[in-house]
């Protein structure tokens, strides 16, 4: 028996290659070659290339969403106990911190986060939809919680600002460690923990800004 089974090796290889080259630019041959598996193994274990992508998303996103949902509900329950509105930063932290921290939990998770960050703007609906279906309920929960935290912001404006937030977050997830734009003076890049704080500060300021 091999160290990890074929199905897992294929998932790992697909996760890595989908993240670094994109879904359409990655062939099943490249995946099975890196996974040291046979070409036909993908269709045997998953059924199709699209179903493989779905499996890649589900493997890590379902547990991650569970964590984010628990932290979100905990923030809401804390506020309820103190009979106050939840704080924006607490809600954002429940959503952002596990996501970026997840990146460091294991080697493949780094690729996964890149993949998710890119999925939001993915052109192919097949790819995008199989991702959005997994996250839409959680986003709706976050939106509902933010309306409690920021009742003075009209819902339509809050919704638009949440889109900006997702954009900043998605871009960050794609780009950690690979600066897209070179600045002449490149200071020390922030650590992952610092990045979480910087991002929360940035988007909470944007969300809370008076209209």
């Amino acid at each position: 028996m091999s160290q990890t089974d074929t199905k897992t090796r294929i998932l790992d290889a697909a996760e890595h290659l989908f993240a670094s080259d994109g879904f359409h630019s990655t062939s099943l041959r490249a995946i099975t070659s890196q996974a040291q598996a046979n070409l036909a193994a993908v269709n045997y274990h998953f059924g199709s290339k699209g179903a493989l992508l779905q499996a890649v998303f589900e493997r890590r996103l379902l547990p991650l969403n569970q964590i984010r949902r628990e932290l979100l509900e905990q923030a809401l329950s804390n506020a309820r106990q103190q009979n106050t509105a939840p704080r924006t930063v607490d809600l954002l932290r429940a959503f952002i911190e596990p996501t970026l921290a997840f990146r460091q939990s294991e080697p493949g998770a780094r690729d996964f986060i890149t993949l998710v960050g890119r999925a939001l703007v993915e052109p192919d609906p097949t790819v995008r939809d199989c991702f959005t279906a997994l996250v839409t309920p959680l986003f709706q929960q976050l939106m509902a919680a933010l309306r409690l935290a920021l009742p003075q912001i009209p819902p339509g404006i809050l919704q638009t600002r949440l889109q900006f937030t997702l954009g900043a977050m998605g871009h960050t997830m794609c780009m950690i460690g690979r600066p897209p734009l070179q600045f002449p003076d490149a200071p020390q890049p922030p650590s992952s923990a610092e990045l979480v704080e910087l991002l929360i500060r940035f988007v909470s300021s944007g969300l809370e800004a008076p209209c």
Copy 2:
């Protein structure tokens, strides 16, 4: 003679299809078919599929960058005359307003803005680099101007916040008119002019937040 020449029709078709389906998912056959041109015309006029993409970027991005550069320099010159530091919102407006307004200038521009918004997180370096090469100098100018506007923010932090800004802006450019995530209550989406104001407010609040 046709209404518009073949080269322009190919550029228009490529712009539209690259934006809606992505670069790798768009075949030269689909482009020439929509442009009512012959398959061989792409290689005759542009040399290769990659060179066609480069031409699509350059056609609109060079004039747009010229406008943004002029508005940026004008904001800096106004501040210099009044012997004050430039205001963050003025710098952001010079950068953001022409970009989003450009979307409405002509039919194809809408597709182009989608394409640019996605280019920042494009996996294929061939695609991404031919875009970043066109915008990096302008981004560096914006960064330098923001350091004048926000001297109290450490340069490293300001650079990270500018990345968040690019993320929010790129996501917005991709997603206008095509909401990626459905919210149960969908209020009236903001007009283009309102969106500019909302985005400037959001990112300026994030950039200016005390550390």
